[in-house]
């Protein structure tokens, strides 16, 4: 079995400021809000290359990402499907401590995103603007693939 790294990292660690677009619900029809990342007024952004993302049709170029969001992560209660797992494909997941099917991340996600959104709405200089800064991690510490073999 091969685990492939799909995480979003800025391509250039010095070009790491993003604008956040508030979304009332994601996953679709769920009750948890989310924030979508944009840069230079587009959600199509340069990113650290993820070659395996091409195999899965998740990206169309290995160093361009789209639809990167901050949303509910780990174990959560999906309004349509019941218990689900989230944030495995290049988005940022909000996960509570000791996350499990009986201790899901729904409540924490709502609290955090709602708090960010309310703060953004209060801004007098730039209402509704959400600024996100992502620190680029050292790629040497993030392998692109982890291969598991049966012993």
């Amino acid at each position: 079995m091969i685990l492939s790294n799909m995480s979003f990292e800025p391509k250039d660690g010095n070009v790491n400021h993003y604008s956040g677009k508030y979304m009332p619900a994601y996953p679709k029809k769920n009750d948890t809000p989310a924030i979508k990342l944009t840069q230079k007024k587009s959600e199509q952004m340069y990113a650290e290359a993820r070659p395996d993302a091409l195999l899965l049709d998740y990206r169309f170029k290995e160093d361009i990402a789209r639809g990167v969001m901050i949303h509910v992560g780990g174990s959560y209660e999906n309004e349509n499907y019941g218990h689900s797992i989230s944030a495995s494909e290049g988005c940022f997941g909000i996960v509570n401590d000791f996350n499990s099917p009986s201790n899901t991340s729904d409540k924490m996600t709502k609290e955090i995103i709602d708090k960010i959104w309310k703060q953004a709405q209060k801004s007098k200089s730039n209402p509704n603007h959400i600024r996100i800064i992502i620190e680029k991690r050292d790629e040497k510490n993030i392998p692109n693939n982890i291969v598991f073999t049966k012993s």
């Binding site: 994601y26 996953p27 679709k28 029809k29 769920n30 944009t38 007024k41 587009s42 959600e43 199509q44 049709d57 169309f60 361009i64 789209r66 639809g67 949303h71 349509n80 499907y81 689900s84 989230s86 944030a87 495995s88 494909e89 988005c91």
Partner: protein, 152 residues
């Protein structure tokens, strides 16, 4: 001699007119509400993804990559892009505001030129063979690529 020459000239013209008539009478514009784009999942292959992204029509399993929705004039209203957790919806306005997405997701804004020609669907100059047809669903295939037209 002159009469024979005129006849041979005349016949090809009639043939061309007839051929043109036959071809155009076999082509028809399709009417649909949704167009699903995806890939056929081979037998024995198991894909775990968002629950709406795996559909089964007749005996064919399809891994859905996007669902485009159209109005009566076949202009795009919105599109769902398949993500790991669920579909991610883009309205027409969102696409107009961030129009690089239209090319990169290969979104079709107007499908009025999508045609049904005998047992094929002609879409963007590509010919997809119809492999399933019911009252409100037509599924077509080109290599591993699947296009499904739904009108319900």
């Amino acid at each position: 001699m002159r009469k024979i020459f005129q006849t041979t000239l005349f016949l090809p013209k009639v043939s061309l007119v007839l051929l043109h008539f036959m071809l155009t009478s076999c082509s028809a514009q399709l009417y649909f509400k949704d167009v699903i784009t995806g890939k056929e999942i081979s037998k024995g292959v198991n894909i775990v993804y968002n629950r709406e992204a795996i559909i089964k029509i007749d005996t064919i399993k399809v891994f859905v990559s996007k669902i485009e929705r159209y109005d009566k004039k076949l202009n795009l209203l919105e599109v769902d892009i398949s993500k790991a957790e669920s579909m991610l919806t883009y309205s027409r306005k969102e696409l107009n505001d961030d129009n690089v997405l239209i090319d990169s997701y290969n979104i079709t804004l107007d499908r009025s030129e999508t045609l049904k020609k005998s047992n094929n669907i002609i879409d963007k100059n590509k010919s997809y063979e119809i492999i399933y047809k019911s009252k409100d669903t037509i599924m077509s295939k080109k290599d591993n690529a699947i296009l499904i037209f739904i009108n319900k």
